[in-house]
């Protein structure tokens, strides 16, 4: 039982980070109707930025996160302006291919700048130990949990109480109406890409603290897609719930089934199996909007 609870608790922390990454994806999807395949690569860049600020420059965690957010904002602005804006009005495939190509370029840049090597910053983060009975929570996971919950709350407040947040929610609802009342759609797009970059980078710093940074860290983006599909592609609440579900399921399944399989590695393929099942039986996810199509 302790083993099970332990798996659930670490899965929960992991799931919150997945949810954070998935939210970046959902925000772009809602506001500009673009599917951002590069979300996982924002995470990768975030991990390496975390390494740079924490280890190379030796800054404290909070300053590092602030600096990383600053970098992410510039990155988001550049990506939106240079790559995505020329494609407004193009078919969906073009936009998806653009984000895939962006992912490739980001991976190339990460390889160029950081050498694509395994970097870790385990000891650098402050230690917080939590023990409930026999279940202990690793310090990195706990920090991940706290920061992702905080980020989620900040974003909820942002969408609820700021003017640009309102504009973004309106754009998600109906682009034409929004433009006719004088909201600049391009600003909304830019802000949504910035937010996506920021949450990706924060997620990257946190995941990097848990498991180290390497190029395959970008695959966490694929897990975030599984989260998005399970939760419903246009629901932020769904992303949070699904993130937690998937994080816990993955950890528990890996903990119990991996010893039975000769080669293990179930944790890596598990999200994809979930994905296929969701897509076949419930393509709009748990909380997604079922879109009725007309000719």
């Amino acid at each position: 039982m302790t083993f099970f609870l332990q798996l659930v608790v670490t899965g929960l922390a992991l799931g919150m980070i997945y949810a954070l990454v998935a939210i970046g994806f959902v925000i772009i999807l809602k506001c500009s109707n673009a599917f951002n395949i590069a979300q996982g690569h924002f995470v990768l860049i975030g991990g390496y930025l975390g390494y740079t600020f924490l280890v190379v420059f030796g800054l404290s965690i909070w300053i590092s996160i602030l600096l990383a957010i600053g970098t992410a904002i510039i990155m988001g602005l550049l990506i939106e302006r240079l790559a995505l804006r020329p494609l407004v009005g193009q078919p969906e495939l073009a936009i998806i291919m653009m984000t895939i190509a962006l992912a490739t370029v980001l991976e190339g840049l990460a390889t160029l700048i950081w050498g694509g090597e395994y970097k870790t910053y385990h000891g650098v983060l402050p230690t917080l130990a939590l023990k409930l009975g026999e279940i202990s929570m690793p310090s990195e996971s706990l920090i991940g949990l706290i920061v992702s919950v905080a980020a989620l709350i900040i974003f909820m407040l942002f969408f609820r109480y700021t003017k640009i947040g309102l504009a973004m929610r309106a754009t998600a609802e109906d682009l034409q109406v929004v433009q006719s009342v004088g909201i600049k759609a391009t600003t909304v797009y830019a802000v949504s890409w910035i937010i996506a970059c920021v949450v990706g980078v924060i997620g990257g710093i946190l995941l990097g603290g848990v498991s180290g940074v390497m190029i395959p860290l970008a695959e966490v983006g694929l897990k975030a897609f599984a989260v998005v599909l399970l939760g419903g592609a246009n629901s932020i609440g769904g992303a949070i719930v699904a993130g937690v579900i998937l994080g816990v399921l993955e950890n528990v399944a890996a903990g119990y089934l991996d010893p039975l399989l000769p080669r293990g590695g179930l944790a890596n393929v598990f999200p994809f199996i979930v994905m296929i099942i969701v897509l076949i039986f419930k393509p709009h996810g748990l909380f997604g909007l079922v879109r009725i199509e007309r000719i």
């Binding site: 495939l93 291919m97 895939i100 490739t104 190339g108 694929l222 599909l229 897509l279």
Partner: protein, 334 residues
């Protein structure tokens, strides 16, 4: 309408075939290898073109289906001792069936959701290959015999080049013809507006799955050609990024046109070759990792630039150039 309409077309075709059949006599092994790889890529991109370019079902799991064909053929020839020529159709069929299974979600979903399903297909297929290690060799891979015709083993680069070129030409002809059949027209209708197509009486269920089947059969054949060329099968030959790169070839060449698929495959494979030449020089000058990152960055940038500046691909541009010269000197500026 015939594919080859004028005597000029026939002449060009004949000249091209004669060139293909004599070029191993004077080209070096290295260039023959590049051409063989281009041929295999063309077969694969034709499949993707039918599935994505004509039918509009975006697949980023194409390499996964190549792996299915490759491993089925590898197991049949290496473990069961079948000949290459009986293993090839079985492998193609297996890849097609895998395509049908993972194409099932396409009945309910499209666009991004389908992309996710095909990405999932890729990772599940590779995971299964690694799990079945007592048959497939898992991460160690497995040796595969070279194909034989009668008693003659296609061991030399030149002989394998001929084999691949035969398949490339046949698959091009077939792809061009599929596009002009009832099914091909139905694919285009499904791509342009699937609801309208259904209202017109086109069975989405049947034609989407047909597109998946045909596209994945092509992928399977390409996979078989690839592993028998290397005489070795390993999951490293089927990296996920190659699926993206095949889609990139389709974009650079132009979606939904056979000549576009060929142009895309040729130009991007040549670009790859250029990168393998320039990469080491750059690595020596800048940093050790420059070669690896250069490959990634050029791939991404090419796709980005084509999406922004030439979204209809080389085939469209080629058509415009041809029209310009046909009308010259009385062409009009658009």
């Amino acid at each position: 309408m015939a594919i080859f309409r004028t005597r000029g077309d026939w002449g060009i075709l004949l000249a091209f075939l004669v060139f293909l059949s004599v070029c191993p006599l004077f080209l070096s092994d290295r260039i023959l290898t590049i051409m063989t790889m281009i041929g295999i890529a063309i077969v694969s991109v034709h499949g993707l073109n039918i599935l994505t370019g004509y039918c509009g079902q975006i697949s980023i799991g194409h390499v996964g289906f190549m792996a299915v064909g490759a491993y089925v053929s590898a197991i049949l020839t290496a473990k069961l001792g079948w000949s290459f020529w009986t293993a090839l159709p079985c492998a193609a069929l297996a890849a097609g069936i895998a395509g049908l299974i993972f194409g099932l979600p396409s009945l309910k979903i499209k666009g991004f959701y389908l992309i996710m399903a095909t990405i999932a297909a890729h990772f599940i297929i590779i995971w299964l290959i690694l799990q079945l290690y007592h048959v497939t060799g898992g991460p160690d891979g497995m040796p595969v015999p070279k194909p034989k015709i009668g008693g003659f083993v296609l061991k030399s680069k030149a002989s394998y080049f001929y084999l691949v070129m035969v398949f490339t030409c046949l698959s091009t002809l077939l792809a061009n013809n599929i596009a002009r059949t009832r099914a091909g027209r139905a694919f285009v209708a499904v791509r342009d507006n699937d609801l309208a197509a259904e209202v017109m009486g086109i069975s989405l269920w049947s034609y989407k799955l047909q597109a998946f089947f045909i596209g994945c059969v092509y992928a399977g054949v390409a996979g078989v050609l690839l592993v028998h060329y290397y005489a070795f099968a390993s999951v490293d030959q089927f990296p996920f990024m190659d699926s993206v790169w095949y889609l990139g070839m389709l974009i650079v060449g132009g979606m939904g046109s056979t000549s576009g698929a060929i142009m895309g495959a040729i130009s991007l494979k040549l670009l790859d070759e250029l990168v393998t030449i320039v990469g080491p020089i750059l690595s020596a000058v800048v940093a050790a990792q420059a070669a690896a990152s250069l490959a990634l960055i050029t791939r991404g940038l090419v796709i980005i630039l084509f999406l922004i500046f030439e979204p209809r691909g080389l085939a469209h541009r080629w058509g415009m150039i041809k029209t310009y010269f046909r009308l010259w000197p009385f062409s009009h500026e658009e």
